[in-house]
């Protein structure tokens, strides 16, 4: 476990630095690329925990799809090289308060839920266990999410299509 703890620390440090770069860099594309580093770090943490399926999904969905679409969108519209002056948000107080609140709520929820409970090391999931729990215990939420996504998909088609 010691090697895993060391690597957890290293990856977490890289992730935090990259996350800072995402919001401080002066170029939109650079921000998106730093975001790739953060998300790859999340995938790495999942892999360290042995949650291989979740880690791979993280790569496929976030790096392979979300960031690529983000880059694609930015490059189609405006993708200037070098520093951009107008990237900073003029009103910084409100977002900072919201971010601090979010952090507080999530930290409190995590600590309050788990406290001293030590999670069993074998609770880690491979693909078969993930699918078993999705299609047995969580079938209703799963179907609800599917319908929601389908609705979003149809909505996108309606918005995009020409009359």
């Amino acid at each position: 476990m010691v090697a895993q703890n060391v690597f957890f620390g290293i990856i977490a440090f890289v992730m935090i630095c990259s996350a800072f770069k995402v919001v401080t860099t002066k170029n939109v594309i650079h921000a998106a690329l730093w975001l790739v580093v953060v998300l790859a770090g999340v995938a790495g943490q999942f892999l360290l925990l042995g949650a291989e399926f979740v880690g791979v999904t993280q790569i496929l969905v976030y790096i392979g799809a979300v960031v690529v679409l983000l880059l694609f969108g930015v490059m189609l519209t405006k993708a200037s090289l070098g520093e951009e002056a107008d990237l900073n948000m003029p009103n910084r107080v409100l977002p900072a308060v919201i971010a601090a609140l979010m952090f507080g709520v999530m930290t409190y929820a995590l600590i309050d839920t788990f406290r001293d409970t030590e999670l069993p090391r074998e609770s880690v999931t491979n693909a078969a266990m993930v699918s078993d729990s999705i299609f047995a215990d969580y079938i209703v939420p799963f179907e609800a999410v599917s319908v929601l996504l389908l609705a979003a998909l149809i909505g996108a088609v309606v918005v995009a299509r020409k009359e």
């Binding site: 594309i29 690329l33 791979v56 790569i59 496929l60 392979g64 694609f72 490059m75 090289l81 693909a127």
Partner: protein, 345 residues
């Protein structure tokens, strides 16, 4: 896909120092073979010419000469380019190829990492190369490069879906996402009760194989889907500003991914390292498995390059229409049919 396996597998599995050179060889050797046999020779014969003949016997050392030439060339950076992103882009593309190699089984024990969700991992890392291509296109500070990068991204996003959906059919039939499991499912399968040659999924998943190969052709941006580097429209797309070793890296990436995707197709549809007649648990497969897999891989790679050499380039809208309106519905139908048959039979 480990093409050379004269070593004791139990030893190299534990030794990083052995794994890395074998990994390099597993990427570079098939890529080099494909370039020489298909890109230099097969296309020449199709065009009634001899191809390279001077360097080595039948021009077989031509590739080494080319690599030497590229290594000597100046590594040019455009003045306005984003230096770091420009320099890093080819490595991102190549990294995704190298990560693909680790899950390809070349024998019962001859595999770098036997991941539980192997094929899913392959689909995920293959999607990372898009980021490298977008980085290359954007950082070159060149309109043609940017257009090429955007075209590549649109194409890769569109064809990733049929690629993954085609694999789902195989996964349903095999009942596992593990690459070794898929090989064994084919080796131990039976065709209508006859187990003489196992059950290569090509017989039941031929629709899936068709979709997979079309999608791979597009993912590799080989003609007829080579709009991102369309030389008559975009110079060479996102590669325009690259020279010397960085161009070489993109070049290796292109042909190594062709080799890797052919190997994945061989595992998914043609039984991977297995040949009929020998028990799949026999240790001999650790020795002959890589060769068998390499043979199957080269046969499939020939298909890719045959299409590349004979088909004219599509238009961008035709490309998107083919993916979204034909391949994706077809692959969904294939999944439905496979699922139904899996439950019924």
């Amino acid at each position: 896909m480990i093409s050379v396996l004269a070593l004791d597998p139990a030893w190299w599995q534990q030794t990083f120092l052995i794994k890395v050179p074998i990994g390099l060889l597993a990427v570079l050797l098939p890529a080099g073979t494909i370039v020489y046999l298909y890109l230099f020779k097969a296309i020449s014969f199709m065009q009634s010419r001899l191809g390279p003949m001077e360097a080595g016997p039948y021009g077989s050392m031509q590739l080494l000469a080319e690599v030497g030439k590229w290594l000597q060339k100046e590594d040019i950076f455009p003045t306005k380019a984003d230096k770091f992103v420009f320099a890093a882009a080819p490595f991102v593309v190549l990294m995704s190829t190298f990560l693909l190699v680790v899950i390809i089984p070349a024998g019962p024990d001859a595999i770098f990492v036997d991941l539980d969700a192997g094929i899913y991992f392959a689909m995920a890392v293959s999607s990372v190369s898009v980021i490298g291509i977008l980085m290359a296109g954007w950082s070159s500070a060149n309109k043609y490069s940017l257009l090429g990068g955007i075209r590549a991204a649109g194409q890769l996003i569109a064809y990733e879906l049929p690629l993954i959906l085609a694999v789902v059919g195989v996964v349903i039939q095999a009942g596992t996402m593990n690459m070794q499991g898929i090989v064994l499912a084919q080796a131990e399968g039976e065709i209508l009760g006859w187990g003489g040659i196992g059950n290569p999924f090509i017989f039941t998943q031929f629709i899936g194989f068709f979709i997979f190969m079309v999608a791979v052709q597009a993912e590799l941006t080989q003609a007829p889907f080579d709009m991102p580097v369309a030389e008559s429209e975009l110079v060479t797309g996102y590669l325009t500003e690259y020279s010397g070793i960085r161009f070489l890296l993109f070049f290796i990436g292109e042909f190594a991914s062709a080799a890797v995707f052919s190997a994945i197709a061989a595992v998914l549809f043609f039984g991977g390292w297995y040949v009929p007649g020998i028990d799949p648990t026999n240790d001999i497969f650790n020795v002959i498995g890589p060769l068998i897999l390499a043979g199957k891989m080269m046969a499939i790679a020939f298909l890719i390059f045959w299409f590349r050499f004979t088909f004219p380039r599509f238009r961008e809208d035709q490309l998107q229409r083919l993916a979204w309106k034909f391949l994706i519905p077809l692959s969904l139908a294939n999944i439905t049919l496979t699922g139904l048959l899996k439950v019924v039979v």
